[in-house]
Symmetry: C2
DNA sequence: AAATTTTTTAGGTAAGACCTAACTTTTCCT
DNA sequence: AGGAAAAGTTAGGTCTTACCTAAAAAATTT
């Protein structure tokens, strides 16, 4: 468990995937399946799982599977929250369709600051689900607070 | 000149910097100055300039300086356009102050698709300058087109 | 023209993401 | 149960990006 250190985009990609599979689809996270979905060889997935384990983001038992730790769970939720709030923005503000919104959000979520995401979240009154109906986790420090003027203004 | 190939975030950072210095501040692009502003050793800057030259984004004469090619010029404008439109969104929609908007835009501009940026551009009626008054270059394919419903709706 | 400053070259390092081939476990069938 | 097939892992690479230091070479200053 290599202590803190920032998470890379790629690590984030795996965390989101694992979270969805495990906590939203209640299915087992299989190396081969992940490999297919990330378009990478199984060996690469194994490597990444070990790496995530070293960083304390999940527990990994070889041949048996994987389970997010508190920290990994939190990190995944943080990312998915960003992702889903961005989706919300793109659909509501720009009229993007769900698929496009999701694609775009995938490109940006990792890089968007929490502050940005929280501000958007507030602007939309703390939505509970994203445009595709997945839940948007709530987050401390994202309540109250003044809103952007856009709220009262016809753009 | 190594043909196409995608530009990395970092390459983009240099292009934006060079563009601003050369075409907006009309000052010479000096290795040492760039090094300071990017917080890197001069040798690293030289290396990057050579690299950008190989990719055909600028012409580089050692000890003498650098000049963007058509391609590099276009690339820089593309990025700055993204940057400035994102700033516009953050200031107008979220009420961000200019500095914060700029910081956030810096993190995202490289990753935002042109489509996204154009859609935002349209939503704000093709603004000509960003919140800090720098010009937002216009872009083919970013005119007309239907707008997001946000335009007619009080959010 | 010397001294100083700036820039470049040469020769590294390190992290991230990948891969193939061979090996080990687990799972599935008969 | 027991062996074949499938799934997962290890070992030992490669490649790209982005850095760095020290020494050498040009350009500037004085």
């Amino acid at each position: 468990m290599k202590a803190e250190a920032r998470i890379t985009v790629n690590e984030g990609k795996y965390l989101k995937l694992i979270y969805r599979k495990q906590h939203e689809e209640f299915s087992r996270v299989r190396t081969t399946v992940v490999a297919k979905s990330v378009r990478v060889r199984p060996a690469t997935v194994t490597e990444m799982l070990q790496n995530l384990a070293e960083k304390g983001l999940l527990r990994y038992t070889r041949y048996r599977g994987v389970r997010l730790t508190e920290k990994g769970f939190a990190e995944a939720q943080k990312l998915l929250r960003k992702h889903r709030i961005l989706e919300t923005l793109f659909v509501r503000f720009l009229n993007y369709d769900v698929q496009k919104a999701c694609d775009e959000a995938s490109k940006l979520d990792h890089y968007a600051s929490e502050d940005l995401v929280n501000t958007i979240c507030r602007a939309y009154g703390h939505p509970e689900t994203c445009p595709c109906n997945k839940t948007i986790f709530s987050h401390e420090g994202c309540e109250e607070k003044p809103l952007g003027k856009a709220r009262w203004k016809i753009i």
